[in-house]
């Protein structure tokens, strides 16, 4: 079977994820993995998923979205709401998680679509500002709403209320949703990451992807050859929102307490995901995954340095930025990097082959 260069590149990306999974599973089974690192695995995956989904908008579509934490928030809350509501109904947990995953992803996609209708007619900075506002609205709305059911039926309000008789608070205002079953596992997270990669890579390499990239490169030229700009933009944006929602589902099912506070879903988180995308290389899916993994794990690994880790983390960000994007560094990499070394060796081999 003959693969194109792009397919090979994509398969390697999936291979890296799979290899990481196998390695971690082996280390975990033989007891060589600390509790700390084991606890980082699922967050690492959902931030990688979020980064890939944002890369679809920022890198492939070429629009800046600062509201991805908002989509994560929708995915997290809608799926948690379902899981908590049916927790004691005897539904087997894999099935319950699957349904929760579908609900979270679809809800985020729905909101992505609804937001996309007015927003995607905007460009550049305007889009960034509107998505930023959207993320904040979602967060503030969910941290103010109360939802519960009792004998009299379902109640929803912006003021807290007392339930009559047998009943349960589902969303408790600022306290959020308590008691989400911990259904996320590393295996599920890696599977979702692989599915995400497959989906995004397939879009990028398809006719649709080429159309989307044409819009990114020159909107007017794309329109002039008959590409429906709004519909393609909408498609990319909705898919991206859905994937971010899926990351939110993993997030909410990895811990029992879910609050819509800015620590988890504020614009700082959206920007953090954007940092993963930018430092991994805008438009590079593999880069997003690796950058998310490294940058999430790094501050945790520096715990031994206590508060200095914040300082070191920021220095690392600057250094990474310089290495990735400074013209001098790029030239240096091209001349002396691993890839250049391999290329030279292959060329030399080729020459030797010709000689003999």
């Amino acid at each position: 079977m003959k693969f194109t260069k792009q397919t090979k590149h994509d398969l390697i990306t999936c291979g890296i994820v799979a290899a990481f999974y196998i390695l971690v599973t082996i280390l975990s089974a033989t007891g060589h993995l600390s509790n700390h690192f084991r606890g980082l695995l699922v967050p690492l995956c959902y931030y990688a998923i979020a980064a890939v989904s944002l890369n679809l908008v920022v890198g492939i579509l070429g629009d800046l979205s600062l509201g991805h934490a908002g989509f994560m928030c929708i995915g997290a809350f809608s799926s948690s709401l379902f899981s908590v509501a049916v927790k004691n109904s005897g539904l087997p947990s894999p099935l319950r998680f699957l349904i929760a995953l579908v609900i979270g992803t679809l809800m985020a996609a729905l909101f992505g679509f609804l937001i996309g209708i007015p927003v995607l007619r905007l460009n550049g900075d305007y889009l960034a500002i509107v998505t930023l506002a959207f993320g904040e609205i979602i967060k503030n709305f969910l941290s103010a709403v109360y939802l519960g059911y009792d004998e009299a039926g379902i109640h929803a309000s912006f003021k807290s209320f007392q339930l009559q008789g047998e009943g349960k608070m589902l969303i408790n205002g600022a306290m959020g949703i308590q008691g989400t079953p911990m259904d996320s596992s590393f295996t599920v997270a890696v599977l979702l990451l692989l599915i995400t990669l497959a989906v995004v890579m397939n879009i990028v390499n398809s006719r649709t992807g080429r159309a989307i990239m044409a819009i990114r490169d020159n909107r007017i030229a794309a329109e002039s050859v008959g590409i429906n700009v709004t519909s393609y933009k909408m498609l990319a944006f909705t898919v991206s929102a859905a994937i971010a929602g899926c990351a939110g589902v993993l997030f909410s099912h990895n811990t029992t307490t879910l609050t819509a506070s800015s620590t988890y879903f504020g614009y700082n988180v959206s920007i953090m995901i954007l940092v993963y995308v930018v430092l991994g290389g805008i438009g590079s899916i593999r880069g997003s995954v690796i950058a998310a993994a490294v940058l999430y794990v790094l501050p945790e690994m520096l715990r031994g340095l206590s508060t200095y880790r914040m300082l070191i983390y920021s220095i690392v960000l600057i250094v990474m930025m310089l290495i990735n994007w400074a013209p001098g560094a790029i030239a240096f990499r091209e001349r002396y990097g691993i890839m250049a070394f391999l290329r030279r060796r292959n060329e030399n081999r080729g020459k030797e082959g010709q000689r003999s």
Binding site: K8, I12, G15, I16, A19, F20, L23, V24, L27, G31, H32, L33, S34, N35, H36, F37, R38, G39, L40, P43, E136, N140, S143, A144, S160, Q162, G173, A174, M175, G176, Q178, M182, N254, T255, T256, T257, T259, S261, S262, T263, Y264, V294, V297, E300, M301, R303, S306, T307, M310, I338, L342, N346
Partner: protein, 392 residues
Amino acid sequence: MKKKVICLLSAALLTVASLCGCGGSGGQGSASGGDVFKIGGIGPTTGGAAIYGSDVRDAIQIAVDEVNAAGGINGFKIEYRFEDDEHNAEKAVNAYNTLKDWGMQMLIGTVTSAPCIAVSELTHTDNMFQLTPSGTAVQCVQYDNAFRVCFSDPDQGAASADYIAGNADLGSKPVAIIYDSSTEYSTGIHDSFVAKAGDLGVNIVSDTSFTTDSNTDFSVQLQTSKDAGAELLFLPIYYQEASLILQQANAMGYAPVFFGVDGMDGILGVENFDTSLAEGVYLLTPFSATAEDELTKNFVSKFEEKTGHVPNQFGADAYDAVYAIKAVCEKQDIKPSMSISEICDAMKTGMTSISLDKVLTSPTTISWTAQGEPNKDPRAVIIENGVYVLAK
């Protein structure tokens, strides 16, 4: 091309392996069987809630040093390590796992509510004893292995309503409430206060809120309270916001009686705050740094020497937590060689059977119920001439 693939894959594997190596170096399993008690602490020492976490961290250190200097617990020294959680449930879980790798046997933490609930799920699974100094949300101690030193949010709200209704001066005043609807702490107290006040016939004329994103300008809420004719303003919020409310109320010539809860403690230490504005403020707090007893004086002076500022009630709660653990360990003859689960089971039974009399955060004694709630008396103080005075 095949070689290139292999090279790339092996390079990726190497990176991953080195990362895992970092993780693994924390040490495997628990170091039980040693001759020290390993007590861990978790709380925010960076970020917006850092002041609470740092106070808890330092107060535990002071208590641990004292206990070690006096011969330790049952002759065994305490080893203590504190991890930062940035007031973030996700990071708190990471901090907990880090401490577990270190060999923690008992946990004092976490300092703030949402992270505490997330961590209590894990301590419950591991059957690790958890004593939170200041996790006030109800669910923080929903499992039988978790206890707390502070009052729960509903208890504080109900106690405040009780106090106001029972006080001859305050009981008849129309009450306004300003609370932070975006924190569990404030909404928890607010909800129980409103419920209890309704039962006791306290007249609430205005009930307004703000969020963490809009916590600098309170003129709307103050004006609403003023227009409603409120003479008592109940503020179940932290002192930073309360200090702003006091300043802004003063600027608009509105002078009701202010009534705060334990989050109000610390208001006299706010930088650039005219403390004369806080004259006559009531607060229901378990701890007063200016109390005259020997224990408080000793703690406050040591704390000031170590950190340069007066401790707040979070620190005091944490200090009491260490002595509660010491008392239970001695009563149940707990040794560091026992497994984490054995220690936890012994602590669970022990906690409900002790009664501490020399404590910072209660004027009388503290004992614990099997639900993990403390039995102690709230202390109402009033600020007079820049110091706390016990209110009648």
